[in-house]
Symmetry: C2
Subunit: 194 residues, 2 copies
């Protein structure tokens, strides 16, 4: 998506070969109008699917999942990083490893809000190694829900997540796929749309 | 706000004298269309103020702050619960006590995204004892930013937060103020709009 690629080129910061900072518009400060355009694009891409729920994981996925759900006029549910003691019979639980934060945490979603009748679109801001997404897919399997597709704002195409999840048969639509980043020059190359 | 009060009466669950669960539409599963109406109401209430930024704290404030920012067509910034090691010179830091989670955590916001030129609207889903809000106010003071107002979806009027923050001179607009809750009968009484 041209709009997002241009914004990454303008405001993204290549910290090192693996880390692209987009906190000025995507996941700390959020450009509300840009995100609305990304939500509209996910709607265009998936509008023929019978989606009745959008799901994501806290925290940086929430705004983009929300604005996508608003386009579909369906509820959004976000999986929570578990901090409170909850009864396991009330929630689906999965473990997610965060490379950014260097830790593993439990992620939970109330069984009340996801079940076998649900057709979900999973939305997240980033796809890199795919750990957060594997966690969300695990929750949908526990719930018996149908995954209609996965919408990602920025995919780091040089990390394994995207290929691994597509190989499982899921439809993944990433609005920008970074093919390579050069920390020396700051140059960012995108995978061309086909 | 009638729409929100009716929804609380229909779907809110009084767990005990202090805890009102609204996870089916406000802070776990999110009714996207309802939240959009709440954002529109915040816009109506504060549209005469020179707001150039909406701020909140992760995670449950993000969606409602986002949709409000979208109405104002300004950026939204959310304070993060600190998990990564960050250099203190790069961020404002404050401590917030969470009664729900029974712990104290550091909350951070990049100095890059909040400064003396900013006129902010603070938005959150809940106001009870006011700890999260005091934390956000502390961040704005560190930044030298001007607080134009505070928009809250549900205020628990029988807890001290609202009175304490209004006593400091801030304009707080809560879309529903719960005056009392009876865990025996499930009855919820709202403070009448004046």
């Amino acid at each position: 998506m041209e709009l997002l690629e241009q914004r990454i080129l303008r405001d993204g910061v290549v910290v090192n070969a693996d880390v692209l900072k987009v906190g000025s518009f995507l996941n700390h400060q959020i450009d509300a109008v840009l995100l609305d355009a990304l939500g509209a694009e996910f709607y265009r891409l998936f509008s023929s699917c019978p989606i009745n729920k959008v799901i994501t994981v806290e925290a940086s996925g929430i705004a983009i999942a929300y604005v996508t759900a608003l386009r579909f006029k369906v509820p959004m549910v976000f999986a929570k990083k578990s901090m409170t003691r909850v009864l396991p019979e009330d929630v689906y639980t999965t473990r997610v490893e965060s490379f950014t934060h260097g830790r593993i945490y439990d992620v939970v979603m109330s069984k009340q809000f996801l079940g076998p009748d649900d057709h979900v679109l999973i939305v997240d801001d980033f796809l890199a190694n795919g750990c957060a997404l594997e966690g969300l897919l695990d929750l949908t399997r526990q719930a018996g829900a149908t995954v209609e597709g996965i919408g990602i704002a920025i995919e780091k195409g040089f990390q394994k997540g995207g290929a691994s999840i597509r190989a499982q048969g899921y439809r993944v639509e990433s609005l920008a796929i970074v093919e390579s980043m050069d920390p020396e020059t700051g140059k960012i190359t995108f995978r061309s749309a086909c």
